[in-house]
Every structure is written in structure tokens, then in C-alpha cells.
């Protein structure tokens, strides 16, 4: 679902434009060369990423506090006595000023301590690290399958543009991006588990399972994620390559009589690297979020399931910790995409 919103937001390279627009105007007389050096640009993009991460942590912590609704009252229910509310506020540390709580929260997280859960008083950090590897396994395997497949199919679609293979691919991918993730998941369960009986449900993994057993347990969740991400990635790859192919310099190369192979190798490919890498990074980010729904569908003990459970019981330390983690992964992936685009496309090194 998030992938769709990326296609929609038009330009890939989400935060890149921000980096460019935010650039201070080069001071007159200063050597413009150092301003545009690769190292400087990359360092600036990384600094922006870190700044965003901090701002996001403030938003996740402070924004939540600014919303109406008192945690202690939610925690105890509407009928709680004022005394009980005061006690619980003290117990949870809500009576301290917000900045103090924010700083100790952030300081703790920097040391790997996400606080304790309100509902069962377990360490949030412990749960997160344990579940994170399970979620990353799910996302990683899906990425390994979907990336080569998407790029290959995207290229086939371009090669046979407006002919049968392209039409088939575009109809199928339109259908796939229109299906909610949970519907794809249940369709797969209905078909493979209920009718054929060849795969397991729920997709439980537990400690002490070998990698092979884990992989066979997550076949259906991975298939769901691949279907969702593949469609988006393919459409974006197709339009990124088509965009390059329909540019003026490719037309010039065509008109001066270069062979198709040389046009692709010398003119199109170097310019297509950046958009395709951006497409991949954006879809990896979408994949990490897609994990949330898929984990709920397949009752998979990952970090997404953990967060959704916490949201339903309003267990704020867990919600905020997981939220920050998801945001961090998303921000880092976007940052990597931008840096690769800067490396691949010299034109981005000269911001206007």
C-alpha cells in the first residue's frame, strides 16, 4: 500500500529534492568546486538524514503528547478515580516535564533501551530485537525474489512496449496494486492451505527452528509480499526506463544512426541506473511497512504484529519504539537511494 503512495508522489527520490532546495546559495567568490564535490554532497545528504531522524523522534514522542487524551485515563479507563490516575501518572513517570522524559527516552534508545511495556512490564527493546530479525528475514527473502524479477519484467515490458507481453504485464500489475495485501494473503491461504493443503497456516516461527524450516514456514507470507511489491516495482521500473528512452538525447542517438545496442549501453543505461535504484530503495521501504499487514494476516511473530497489538491496547512505549524503528529504516533507505542517485547521475551534483 505504501508503495502505491510512492508511485503517486510522482518523483522518486523523496527527500533528494529537499536536499537540493535546502542548499544554501553558494557564496560569491567561494570556490564552487568544493561545494559540489561528491564528498560534500554525500555528507550533506547524510546530515539531512540524521536531522530528519531526530525530528521524526520528536514528532513521534512530542506529537503524540500534544494530541488530546490523557494516557493515564486511557490506561485505567474512564471510571478511574483521580487518586488512581495520579498514582499511575507517577508510576509511569508522566508527572515529569515532557522535555525531560523525551531526553531520557531518546538517550535510552541510543543505548538500545526502549523502556518497559505498560501492559506487561517487559523490556520493549528485548522484544523488538528478537522480533526484528524475524521481520527482516521476511522482508529480506521477499526483496531477494522480487527485485530481479521486477527489473527483468520491467525491461520485458519496455522491450515489447504496447505489444502483447507489455499489455499482459500491465493488466496483471494493475490488478495486483489494486488488491489489498490482506486479500492477497487470504486468497493464497484459501488456495494453497485450504484447497491444496500444501502449505502451513499460521506461519509461526520459533526459537530453535532451522533456517530451512523457517523458510518453508514463510513461503506464503513471502509470496504475498512479493506479489504486492513486484507490481509496484515493475510499473515504476517500466516508466523509469521508458522515461529515459523517450528523452531527447536518446532520440538524437537514434537519429544519428547508432545501433540499438549502443544506444542502450552508452546512452540509456547510465541514465537509467539512478531511477531504477531509487525504485528499488523505495520499494524496500514499502516492503518493510507491508510487513505489518502481512504479519497480522499470517500470525507471524514479527515487529509489525507487535506494534499492531500494542496500538489496540494503547501501550505507548511499544508503539513509539516500533514507530521510531520503522521510521528509521524508511529514512535510511531513502537516504541510500538519494546517495546512489547522486553517485550515478553527475547532473545532480550541480544543484541549481
Amino acid at each position: 500500500m505504501s508503495a502505491q503512495e510512492e508511485t503517486v508522489s510522482g518523483q522518486p527520490g523523496n527527500q533528494m529534492s529537499a536536499a537540493r532546495r535546502g542548499a544554501p546559495a553558494p557564496a560569491a567568490g567561494r570556490a564552487a568546486r568544493s561545494k559540489n564535490s561528491l564528498g560534500y554532497l554525500i555528507a550533506r545528504r547524510m546530515a539531512l538524514g540524521i536531522a530528519l531522524l531526530f525530528a521524526a523522534s520528536m514528532l513521534i514522542f512530542g506529537g503524540v503528547e500534544a494530541l488530546p487524551g490523557d494516557f493515564a485515563t486511557t490506561y485505567l479507563g474512564q471510571e478511574a478515580t483521580p487518586q488512581a490516575v495520579a498514582n499511575i501518572r507517577e508510576e509511569l513517570g508522566l508527572d515529569r516535564p515532557m522535555t525531560e522524559r523525551y531526553l531520557s527516552w531518546l538517550g535510552g534508545i541510543l543505548q538500545g533501551d526502549f523502556g518497559t511495556s505498560w501492559s506487561n512490564h517487559n523490556s520493549v527493546g528485548e522484544q523488538i530485537w528478537k522480533r526484528l530479525s524475524d521481520s527482516l528475514l521476511l522482508a529480506g527473502v521477499s526483496a531477494l525474489i522480487s527485485i530481479p524479477l521486477a527489473i527483468g519484467l520491467g525491461m520485458i515490458a519496455v522491450l515489447y512496449r504496447n505489444r502483447i507481453p507489455d499489455k499482459v504485464i500491465s493488466i496483471l500489475s494493475l490488478a495486483a496494486i489494486s488488491l489489498p495485501e490482506f486479500f492477497i494473503g487470504y486468497l493464497l491461504i484459501q488456495f494453497f492451505t485450504v484447497q491444496l493443503g500444501i502449505s502451513e497456516f499460521p506461519a509461526t516461527v520459533y526459537d530453535g527452528m532451522s533456517l530451512g524450516e523457517r523458510l518453508s514456514a514463510i513461503v506464503l507470507p513471502v509470496a504475498t509480499l512479493v506479489t504486492v511489491v513486484l507490481a509496484h516495482m515493475m510499473r515504476m521500473t517500466r516508466s523509469a526506463i521508458l522515461n529515459v528512452m523517450s528523452s531527447a538525447y536518446v532520440e538524437t542517438a537514434e537519429l544519428k544512426g547508432l545501433s540499438a545496442l549502443r544506444i542502450i549501453a552508452e546512452h540509456a543505461a547510465p541514465n537509467a541506473v539512478a531511477p531504477v535504484v531509487t525504485v528499488i530503495a523505495l520499494n524496500l521501504a514499502a516492503l518493510v511497512v507491508g510487513v505489518v499487514v502481512v504479519e497480522v494476516v499470517f500470525v507471524y511473530p514479527g515487529i509489525g504484529q507487535y506494534m499492531v497489538d500494542a496500538v489496540t491496547v494503547r501501550d505507548m512505549p511499544v508503539v513509539q519504539g516500533c514507530g521510531l524503528l520503522f521510521a528509521a529504516i524508511y529514512i535510511v533507505l531513502n537516504m541510500v537511494a538519494d546517495i546512489v542517485s547522486i553517485l550515478a547521475n553527475p547532473r545532480l551534483r550541480h544543484p541549481r
Binding site: 502505491q4 486479500f183 486468497l187 532520440e251 520503522f326
Partner: protein
């Protein structure tokens, strides 16, 4: 963009959207049973008195599906309209004002977009009380960041046109520039965007309801119906698949129309090729 030149795919899409809209408007007339009445046994199979069978509490699935079109369509449409109002107002203001206003709004927008939409929604809905009004506002606020980004880009292109310059020189105010110069010239590309955001809103709402954070029972909505009936899947009860298929049907129809809208408006730009 004439209706006559509409391709067959877009016609199918439009017909599908109208079908769902009719179901939503005339739900009490069409539905064989009431929305929340328990009329049969739990998870009765298809056929007989109940065309699609019954749900996890013994309510008629088809009736709930028809009533569900109401909540799903209404909330998604309201959220999209609100998000466009917010996003376009802010982005046009940013473009017309420029300078510090633009910087502040754009950086804030970047910040909000740096957190994935679903995650942001989960965090916010964990705190706020659950009702339809709040749900619409939260969905709209999150979505408006995406509208802002595209709105700003489109408005920026228009704002450097000679006729806008001429309007400034005539001494028109900001409101005139926004509503009389920029808005009419950005409507065509934003129309396609509206369709895309609407499709996204339907999926987003359904996902939230599926996770138990969207529309609350006993009101029927398609995402929530999947959640209600999901336990049945392993017993071979396909009650959860019908609302899922309804969501897919509606979104495919919207996307078919959007594809046509985007192609029709893209040709206005006169670009080479068909990317």
C-alpha cells in the same frame, strides 16, 4: 478528454464505480436483510436464503456488503476531499508566498513524509479516541502531505507563466492568483491525482479497519468485515473473501478510470513518447 473517446476499460471502471455508489445510496432498498440483524446460523454456506451466506455472528453477508459500501465509500471520499482541500490550499499558498512560508511548510511536509503513512496512522490512532470523524481527519492529514508535494510541483510550473506575471503586475492579490490563475490551470493534472489518492484512501481505510483501527463495529465496512470473518478461512469458510473481493473490485475500477484520465491529460502537455 471527451467522454466519447473513452476507452472500453475506462467505461467498465466507471460502470463499476456507479454500481458501488448505487449500492451505497440505496442500501436500505436493495439489501435483503438489515445491516446488524442476526438472521441465521453462524457462517451459513452460500445459496438458499442467503446468497453469499452469513458472517461470524449469523448476519447476512450480502446485506452487510451492500451497507458496507456506504461506510467505505463515504469515509474514503470524505478523507480524499479533505486531504485535497488541505494539501492544495497549503501548497498553493506556499508557492504564491514563497520565501520563509514556503520553506517552513515544505520542510514540515518533508518531516511528515519521512514517517511511513501506515506507521504514522498507527501511532496517532493509538492515542486518539476511535470515531469516524477523527478517522477521516487523520487519514486526510496524512494524505494531504502527498497532495502538498504534487500540488506544489504543479503550481510552481504554472506560477512562472507569463499570464501569472501579468496578473501580479495588474496588482491582483494572492487570493486572485491562487483561485483565478493557478487553480484553473492545475485542475487537469490534479484530477488524475485525485483518482489515485481516492484509490489509495480506499485501500488505506480497509487496511486500518482490517487491523481493527478503522471503522468500528457494528457499522459494516469492507475492511472490518474481512477482519470479522478471517478466523473462518482455515475452516474453509470463504466469508472473508467476499468483502476483500469487493475492495479489489472498487479499487480496480477507480484505477481503470484514473489510467484513462492520466493518459488523456498527459497528451495536453505534448511530450514525446508514451512514458
Amino acid at each position: 478528454m471527451r467522454l466519447r473517446s473513452m476507452p472500453i476499460s475506462a467505461r467498465i471502471g466507471l460502470a463499476g464505480i456507479m454500481l458501488v455508489a448505487l449500492c451505497a445510496i440505496f442500501a436500505p432498498l436493495i439489501a435483503p436483510y438489515s445491516e446488524s440483524a442476526v438472521v441465521g446460523e453462524v457462517w451459513a454456506p452460500m445459496g438458499g436464503d442467503f446468497i453469499l451466506g452469513t458472517d461470524n455472528l449469523g448476519r447476512d453477508l450480502l446485506s452487510r456488503l451492500i451497507y458496507g459500501a456506504r461506510a467505505t465509500l463515504f469515509v474514503a471520499l470524505a478523507a480524499t476531499l479533505l486531504s485535497f482541500s488541505i494539501g492544495m490550499t497549503l501548497s498553493f499558498t506556499a508557492v504564491v508566498s514563497g520565501g520563509i512560508v514556503d520553506q517552513v511548510l515544505s520542510r514540515l511536509n518533508d518531516l511528515l513524509m519521512s514517517i511511513p503513512a501506515l506507521i504514522l496512522a498507527l501511532i496517532v490512532l493509538a492515542v486518539l479516541p476511535q470515531n469516524i470523524g477523527i478517522l477521516i481527519v487523520v487519514m486526510a492529514a496524512i494524505d494531504s502531505t502527498r497532495v502538498y508535494r504534487i500540488g506544489r510541483a504543479v503550481a510552481l510550473d504554472v506560477s512562472v507563466m507569463d499570464y501569472v506575471e501579468a496578473a501580479w503586475l495588474r496588482g491582483e492579490g494572492k487570493l486572485w492568483i491562487i483561485f483565478r490563475e493557478i487553480l484553473p490551470n492545475t485542475l487537469a493534472p490534479l484530477l488524475g491525482e485525485f483518482g489515485l489518492r481516492f484509490a489509495f484512501s480506499i485501500l488505506f481505510l480497509s487496511t486500518l479497519s482490517f487491523l481493527g483501527l478503522g471503522i468500528q463495529p457494528p457499522v459494516a465496512d469492507w475492511g472490518g468485515m474481512v477482519k470479522d470473518n478471517k478466523e473462518g478461512i482455515i475452516f474453509g469458510v470463504s466469508a472473508a473473501l467476499a468483502p476483500g473481493a469487493a475492495i479489489a473490485f472498487l479499487v480496480i475500477c477507480v484505477n481503470l478510470v484514473v489510467d484513462w484520465l492520466i493518459n488523456a491529460t498527459a497528451s495536453l502537455k505534448g511530450a514525446r513518447g508514451d512514458a
